[in-house]
């Protein structure tokens, strides 16, 4: 039996962390992540978890403390946003290359500058090449579900890659929704006891984390990370299915909404997928064949699976909540377009929207579908949706 809660996205992530009861949580506040760690700090103070919470002086130290704790054999969870993630950057790469299974909630916020505290995906998209698995959540329920699953994916012995589980700042992080949570013992059983494969101070099997790695082995180690990322796709699916049996909510690499007979499909990440679904409902009521693909997993990128899912569409639009400054389009657009390389007859249209928390409405989404239908395809240069010229 599960239990319904009224939780913000941040509280949903903190609640999952409470049930997981990680060994170590290093913390440094940043808007809009702050409430997540504050909620968790209260769990620590209440004795609801046994976690060693370390209040450090910066995100760079937070991630470093996470690396130290994880290498020592602890289960580590952490959270940040925007500039906090940027300050961690050096250690973000080191975590992945050290194959430390740390789960980090990234509460998406526009990365400075100019300074802005509201949602876009420039923070997590900026480190898409860091070697972390990236999972995006649409609502508070998914925030909870993805945090629980992230740990299993990350710690899988064939994966051992850190996971960013992201949710949109303020839009999800500060919005109260109904969250169906598993029972504590169900979560405990699902995530299991963490046993590091290569802990420090095992005198019979001494290890070194993060050694100098030059022309001799660096390349091989990077290849191993890339291989693990490929394997992660299978593990994400297995964990999503197992979680479905437990909770009634299964998860895949992406979520298809009304796509089966759809002529026009929009691909989006995060909360905007929910807005797009509402727009699709309205348009379906008017007899229009439109659908949405909500990409859940951005790293590893599910290219062949997406191509398959788009195979019957006449055209597709990709909505990016970050500007890649490529002159072509945002990161999601480029990945999708690259995935569809062999389907040259499929028009792919790029949109950049919602930067710095600029609103996106069902009407704007309906406008995108209108563009697709009428052949206004932005294939060489993304259209900036909702910007003032």
């Amino acid at each position: 039996m599960s239990k319904m809660h009224a939780l913000t996205g941040n509280e949903a992530a903190a609640y999952a962390m409470k049930q997981i009861d990680p060994d170590v949580v290093p913390a440094y506040p940043i808007t809009p992540q702050t409430e997540l760690m504050q909620t968790f700090a209260q769990y620590v103070a209440d004795g609801a978890v046994q976690t060693e919470m370390i209040l450090v002086e910066s995100e760079h130290s937070a991630m470093s403390a996470g690396v130290g704790a994880s290498a020592a054999g602890a289960r580590v969870m952490i959270a940040t946003s925007a500039n906090g993630l940027a300050l961690m950057w050096e250690i973000v790469y080191i975590t992945a290359s050290s194959r430390l299974p740390i789960v980090m909630a990234v509460v998406n916020r526009a990365l400075s500058g100019p300074i802005n505290i509201h949602c876009d995906h420039s923070d997590s998209m900026g480190c898409r090449d860091a070697g972390w698995i990236q999972i995006y959540s649409e609502n508070c329920q998914e925030v909870y579900d993805n945090m629980v699953q992230a740990l299993r994916i990350s710690e899988h012995k064939d994966v051992l890659l850190p996971v960013m589980s992201t949710h949109d700042g303020f839009i999800i992080s500060h919005t109260v929704e109904r969250v169906d949570a598993l029972k504590d013992e169900e979560v405990k059983k699902f995530v299991g006891e963490y046993k590091s494969l290569y802990p420090l101070l095992d005198v019979s099997k001494p290890v070194t984390y993060g050694p100098l790695d030059l022309q001799d082995y660096y390349f091989e180690h990077k290849k191993q990370q890339a291989e693990a990322m490929k394997i992660a796709k299978r593990v994400i699916l297995e964990v999503g299915e197992e979680y479905g049996k437990l909770s009634g909510r299964s998860y895949g690499l992406f979520d298809e909404y009304q796509t089966e007979d759809a002529e026009y499909i929009i691909i989006a990440l995060g909360s905007t997928a929910g807005t797009a679904k509402a727009a699709v409902d309205d348009m379906r009521a008017m007899g229009k064949k439109v659908g949405v693909i909500k990409l859940r997993v951005f790293r590893p990128f599910p290219a062949p699976e997406l191509v398959q899912a788009l195979s019957n569409a006449k055209a597709v639009a990709v909505l990016d909540r970050s500007e890649g400054f490529s002159g072509i389009g945002g990161p999601l657009f480029q990945e999708v377009r690259s995935a569809l390389y062999r389907k040259a007859d499929m028009p792919v249209s790029g949109y950049v929207y919602g930067l710095g928390g600029r609103d996106i409405t069902p009407e704007m989404i309906a406008g995108v579908f209108g563009d697709l239908k009428e052949g206004r395809i932005h294939e060489d240069e993304a259209f900036h949706l909702g910007v003032r010229e």
């Binding site: 913390a27 808007t31 209040l55 500058g113």
Partner: protein, 247 residues
């Protein structure tokens, strides 16, 4: 006719309301700085560096050029600016999260290099802007959003005394600590701020003034009780006075 004005808005302050909470020390600190800059006649060659924290919007209140820096980096930005334009008067305005936590490395190294800048350090013992979390300067047993049972010496260490830490460095010329809790202390703090700017005008090295300030909102006290707390609890932990003056 004789001008009988005894109190007016300094030219260095904009005529706008601030976003600061009732009882917050930032308004007082801004005014003291503005008065000193007016008095020294340096408004047109002064540049402020704003922090990340509650004073992130300081550029909306000061009536001179202000540059925003990333969290904790004002002393590094000030270094770059002062080295290129030594004739300018450069000051940083930083809270305890900015200066003593995330930016402590920049603080120490700018001080140790003896950068000819002025640092105004507003210490309210808490992270105000993010909603009242524990700072390095939080007092032992003080309850915050991330230390709900109170800061413990064993786990989080004692409050960081920035002035006492920087004073032994040969690069520092002037280190003083004032408090914004009552008129006598505020007038004293104004003297410290003035000296810290004078040092820069006269070519001396790194000057820092710490201002003990209240955060009634996240101390969960009235402004009046917050002033009392500064007197009874904060000052005993952070003694006032000129800690170093190499003149």
């Amino acid at each position: 006719m004789k001008d009988s004005t005894i109190y007016q808005r300094p030219e260095s302050l904009q005529d706008v309301p601030t976003h600061y909470c009732p009882g917050c020390g930032h308004g007082t600190a801004h005014r003291l700085i503005a008065e000193v800059i007016d008095e020294l006649g340096i408004r047109e060659r002064t540049v402020g560096i704003a922090p990340v924290g509650c004073a992130v919007l300081a550029y909306d209140y000061f009536n001179f050029d202000v540059t925003e820096a990333a969290h904790g980096r004002p002393p590094a930005v000030a270094t770059g600016m002062k080295r290129v334009r030594p004739e300018l008067i450069i000051f940083t305005y930083q809270g305890d999260g900015d200066l003593a936590a995330i930016g402590i490395a920049e603080t120490i190294h700018a001080a140790n290099r003896g950068e000819k800048i002025t640092v105004i350090f507003v210490n309210n013992g808490i992270y105000g802007m993010t909603g009242g979390q524990m700072a390095p300067t939080t007092l032992i047993d003080q309850k915050t959003a991330t230390s709900p049972l109170g800061r413990s010496f064993q786990n989080e260490g004692p409050p960081l005394k920035v002035c006492e830490m920087l004073a032994p460095l040969d690069g520092t010329a002037y280190i003083a600590r004032g408090a914004l809790n009552k008129p006598a202390n505020i007038l004293k703090a104004r003297e410290y701020i003035k000296q810290a700017f004078l040092n820069q005008i006269e070519g001396r090295r790194f000057s820092l003034v710490e201002l003990l300030s209240a955060c009634p909102t996240y101390w969960h006290l009235t402004p009046g009780d917050s002033m009392k707390k500064i007197t009874e609890e904060v000052i005993p932990n952070f003694p006032l006075g000129v800690i170093k003056d190499e003149r």
